[in-house]
């Protein structure tokens, strides 16, 4: 599932000055700063693109097409984050990050891109907006954290906006998958039927339904995890000195 407020709990602790940090080396830090700046910029481009298209058309329908390319580039680019964890320059679980990025990539390519008919749905705008706001905050959070100059506002935003953005994103994603179902069933998209030489079958329609069902156990877990993180990070507001 593509949690709008995804990311690791461990980065929250990089602000605690009394914890021993074994962060990335200088070269890795420089690379990560560049990576996060580029991603922040990319999602800003998407944000601006959405606003401009809305102003130009006068309606919020069909805005997907105006940001389709940058969305694909920058969302797919997030696959690098799995590599960062695997290599060890980011202290997060490869599995958790992999799962989060793959679910975003899945929605971008295997649902929205592949099923043309859903691209004009309003639910697409719902999750695109949720992702855009989340990612701009998240990547700037990482950028500032790496430079040890994290404005409290960004930290606050990261651990507060998710209250709305998370359910908003989930709603957009579920509605989009649901909208795709009839077309997938009709065309047999990505499905393999019997008989065949490898004695295997796959029904993408059923698979999508299972994906939707998986949100039921997963979404609350991730949501409450973020709430717990928020208490930990923002809880002791008086003790944290605002970083200039």
């Amino acid at each position: 599932m593509s949690a709008p407020a995804m990311g690791t709990s461990k980065t929250a602790h990089t602000d605690s000055s009394h914890k021993k940090k074994k962060g990335p080396g200088t070269l890795a830090t420089a690379y990560l700063v560049i990576y996060n700046v580029v991603m922040t910029a990319g999602w800003l481009v998407i944000a601006v693109g959405l606003v401009r298209a809305y102003l130009a058309r006068g309606s919020y329908h069909g805005l997907y097409y105006s940001i389709e390319k940058p969305l694909k580039y920058f969302q797919t680019g997030a696959l690098l984050e799995i590599l960062h964890c695997a290599v060890g320059i980011v202290p997060s679980s490869v599995v958790l990050t992999g799962f989060q990025v793959m679910s975003r990539v899945f929605l971008t390519w295997a649902v929205t891109h592949s099923v043309r008919e859903v691209q004009s749905e309003d639910s697409v705008l719902l999750f695109v907006v949720a992702w855009t706001v989340t990612e701009i905050i998240r990547y700037s959070f990482y950028t500032f954290s790496l430079l040890n100059h994290l404005p409290y506002l960004i930290k606050w935003a990261r651990y507060t906006f998710f209250f709305v953005l998370y359910p908003m994103g989930v709603a957009g994603e579920l509605l989009t998958i649901y909208a795709a179902l009839p077309y997938v069933q009709k065309t047999g998209l990505y499905s393999i039927t019997l008989p065949n030489n490898y004695n295997f079958s796959f029904d993408y329609h059923t698979f999508l339904i299972l994906v939707m069902i998986s949100y039921i156990p997963l979404f609350p877990q991730l949501y409450f995890h973020m709430i717990r993180q928020r208490k930990k990070v923002l809880g002791h507001v008086e003790e944290y000195s605002k970083v200039e």
Binding site: L194, P195, N197, Y198, N199, F200, S201
Partner: protein, 308 residues
Amino acid sequence: MKHYEVEILDAKTKDKLCFLDKVEPNATIGEIKSMFHKSHPQWYPARQSIRLDPKGKSLKDEDVLQHLPVGTTATFYFRDLGAQISWVTVFLTEYAGPLLIYLMFYFRVPFIYAPKYDFTTSKHWVVHLACMCHSFHYVKRLLETLFVHRFSHGTMPLRNIFKNCTYYWGFAAWMAYYINHPLYTPPTYGEQQIRLALTVFLFCQIGNFSIHIALRNLRPPGSKTRKIPYPTKNPFTWIFLLVSCPNYTYELGSWLGFTLMTQCLPVAAFTLVGFIQMTVWAKGKHRSYLKEFRDYPTLRSPILPFIL
């Protein structure tokens, strides 16, 4: 004889959980666990982890009190391992499942395939052969669990049984569904392919069994001793020259044989996942052997000769 005093503290909270006085110096950790169990009946010995250090390694049941680096008042730390279940129970359950589940698909029990196929049998003889091989494999495993294996640990965490059964039962159902399907397609190269596959399968079944017997014979009954396994008179054990865990090597071979026999993608997937898990285990076992025995043969690889 000087008696010891033993106090057991909670590893996390450091609360005093139990105080035992007049403990014999030659008392084992196992005996201490039994005594602790008396004062805390909910923590049977199998779920107790007793350590010298709150974050340290668990002491063994065989460790003797007077040989441990403790004073006459010994302080131990306790961690609850959670509900435990015996290895034998887990193995029997996880293996009985695939045996029965596969047969349900083989006999085309209702509600799996279309009603017109209920209780029919496949027209392909390889499907009958595959059923025999699959069933033989799991019957062998059940019998080995009951009569051959000598387990190092008595128990494992209870949640493992759910995890393990989901894995074995799930994969068994998945592959059985396709192999016994009315639209099953037999192997491309027909009888040649099936014969080769069967040969590989049987060879590896015998090999795997030979290794299990050899490992059993390394260990006297009721003991938990560990020795370096060596090739015996049985040619199937000569693979010990090249590999630390040939039981896994043969297991991989059996499933490759079964994959070739059925030419079924889910079987290939099961083989792959099993191979990955067994490689992890083999590497761990190989590392333990190297750590424990100075003279461990250097030619050996964990699971695949010279490769892995």
